[in-house]
């Protein structure tokens, strides 16, 4: 009997195909739509404060928690749960709820309200949120997350697909000074910035093995561009930049400050920033335009987008 079981295998080819196809479904969210994101990708969203980073995260979350289809109406979501780790304590849940509502209403067309409430609460239940106030809490969260996720997976019947961290550099300054010499024992690991992030990266890696998902981390640029380790744009796109008439030469993007453990963990990197340009919607309404640009892989294309009530929209 045991032998029979062993020969039977774990799943049929058809089952495997559906599973693999499901794992390969990609997240397409503007302005990250240029490269389809798959499970296992680690995306870093870098930009100065006020460059719509959190908005992009909210957009990605909404895309994830919406179902593919519900009562015959197509919503085009991924129908899976999302974890939002808020290191900056700044997420405004009413904003997420607003985007979600507008997306559902857009799909519904002619408001079916009973349907609306059920779908709305189902979606919100797939969004998990935790806030942290220092690196230790962040590590504690990562270390104990597996059990939480497993429980939710059993309850909801769907697994985690998107892990978001806002923002990964939040404790940079605090950890930088806490590298004081360890007391007790020569073999004690110091709480240096590098050690902390290395531990966090290791935990996330382990988590991804059990809960395959996309990681999106936002990162604020917290420095001016005085130092040497600045990230410069590749030649190819600097022309695009100067065409948009930026005065500072358009070369320096930001200064990298994350330790190497994190940098080598990142597989995709997008740079976003605000601009002085406006899109005139109507005579009295202006929308400020944001720019996004892929740095890893370097595509050399500058995309423009605006943030409306219903989320992010690309503009030509």
């Amino acid at each position: 009997m045991a032998l029979r079981q062993w020969i039977d295998g774990d799943e049929s080819a058809a089952e495997m195909l559906t599973r693999v196809l499901k794992e390969r479904t990609s997240l397409l969210v503007p302005p990250l739509h240029r490269v389809p994101l798959h499970v296992g990708n680690v995306v870093e969203l870098v930009g100065p404060s006020g460059s719509a980073k959190t908005q992009i995260l909210i957009q990605a979350a909404v895309n994830c928690i919406l179902p593919k289809e519900w009562n015959g109406i197509r919503y085009g979501g991924l129908e899976c749960s999302v974890v939002f780790i808020d290191l900056d304590c700044r997420l405004d849940i009413s904003r997420l709820s607003q985007v979600l509502k507008l997306r559902i209403l857009e799909g519904n067309g002619n408001g079916d309200w009973g349907n609306f409430d059920a779908l709305y609460t189902t979606c919100l239940r797939r969004f998990f949120y935790i806030r942290c106030y220092d690196s230790f809490e962040f590590l504690a969260t990562l270390k104990t997350m597996h059990h939480k996720l497993q429980k939710e997976r059993d309850d909801l019947g769907i697994g985690l697909r998107l892990l978001m961290i806002d923002s990964i550099g939040a404790y940079h300054w605090v950890d930088r000074v806490s590298s004081s010499l360890p007391l007790w024992g020569y073999n004690r690991k110091g709480f240096s910035l590098a050690n902390m992030l290395e531990a966090a990266v290791e935990e996330i890696k382990k988590l991804l093995l059990v809960h395959p998902s996309i990681v999106i981390a936002s990162k604020a640029t917290i420095f001016g561009d005085r130092s040497s380790d600045i990230v410069r744009r590749e030649k190819s796109s600097s022309e695009t930049e100067s065409r948009h008439g930026k005065s500072d030469g358009g070369q320096v993007l930001y200064r990298e400050y994350m330790p190497s453990a994190w940098q080598s963990f990142v597989t995709h990197r997008v740079f976003v920033r605000g601009s002085d340009e406006y899109l005139t919607v109507s005579s009295c309404e202006h929308q400020s335009i944001y720019f996004s640009e892929w740095l890893l892989p370097s595509l050399g294309v500058l995309d423009k987008f605006i943030v409306k009530n219903a989320g992010i929209f690309m503009v030509p």
């Binding site: 006020g50 959190t54 969260t141």
Partner: protein, 321 residues
């Protein structure tokens, strides 16, 4: 969090054998546990004589960690918390309230930036008197430059109640004044002291039904922090970020609206910029810029940043003289 030794009393499984096993791997506190790979540690425990007990100890510490961290919330719970506990407090200036989408939000850190005499302190004093008057709440005012003016507050209160009802006005004034507690702090360490004390008081009185603190004002945060910035050391930045996250923690956990002032300094090319720059910029939820028309008492406010609204809107308002 704590040294492992201190856990022994509550959790007998963390005994001396376990402690010495951990010590041999450089683990002395719960924090040390956090930066270690527990799977590797468990694998080492496997090779020890009392492996079962050691592994139980690891699990025990994990559950201690699990109990210490912040709670998980799902979208529905978050939304409910926002609806029930995070209200908008009116600043007393209608224009500013509309601009902020309803006023100062409990749980959020609102920042006012502006040059000298652009009305920053006036907005703070007005907000303090308004919250104390209309919400029957306490206001915690941290004053770093002796700019707190009780006369101004009584002016606001009397102006509102009108001189005709002087008797009730007097009572009202007394009540408002007693709800606003002002604390002078002149350096960042005193600031942390006061905040920790406040946090402690808040924690111990959460269940009491009397008036609670709903507004915390820091006038100004930049004068505490700018002296410690600069130089090659990052100590100043670390203190700045810690101050920001402590304010946000108090704001969120005790449902308090926090209002801080950041003055402006001269930047390059003759422009002015906020005294706390790039690293601070990502701390506040809302950033409001004030400017005043020269020679008049008309102020202009504009949103530089908002967590749920488009920025760039402006409003004008008059400070009562």
């Amino acid at each position: 969090m704590a040294p492992l030794k201190s856990l022994e009393q509550l959790h007998p499984i963390i005994d001396t054998t376990f402690q010495s096993f951990c010590a041999s791997h450089g683990i002395f506190t719960v924090e040390d546990f956090l930066i270690h790979d527990l799977y590797v540690l468990a694998a080492f425990a496997e090779q020890q004589p009392e492996s079962e007990k050691l592994k139980q100890g690891i699990t025990q510490i994990l559950s201690v960690i699990n109990a210490e961290r912040q709670p998980w919330m799902n979208g529905l719970e978050l939304l409910e918390d926002a609806r029930e506990n995070k209200h908008f407090l009116s600043t007393g200036f209608e224009g500013v309230d509309t601009l902020l989408g309803g006023g100062l939000r409990e749980g959020q850190l609102t920042e006012i930036v502006g040059p000298s005499s652009s009305g920053k302190t006036q907005v703070c004093l007005r907000a303090a008197s308004n919250v104390a008057t209309n919400y029957n709440a306490k206001v915690f005012y941290l004053d770093t430059g002796n700019s707190f003016s009780p006369q101004r507050i009584s002016g606001f209160v009397n102006w509102k109640s009108g001189p005709s009802i002087a008797r009730t006005g007097q009572n009202m004034l007394q009540q408002v004044m007693s709800s606003i507690s002002c604390h002078s702090v002149y350096d960042i360490f005193a600031f942390f002291d006061v905040l920790h004390q406040l946090e402690f008081n808040l924690r111990s009185q959460t269940c009491k039904g009397d008036r609670r603190v709903q507004l915390l004002i820091v006038d100004s945060i930049s004068s505490l922090i700018t002296p410690i910035l600069g130089g090659s050391s990052s100590q100043g930045h670390a203190l700045m970020v810690s101050a920001g996250s402590l304010l946000k923690k108090i704001a969120h956990e005790y449902n308090i609206a926090v209002l801080v002032i950041n003055h402006t300094v001269g930047g390059d090319r003759g422009t002015s910029k906020p005294a706390l720059g790039q690293s601070w910029k990502s701390v506040p939820h809302v950033r409001l810029q004030l400017s005043r028309d020269p020679g008049s008492n008309v102020c202009q406010a504009s949103i530089l940043k908002h967590s749920s609204m488009a920025s760039g809107m402006t409003a004008r308002f008059v400070i009562y003289e």
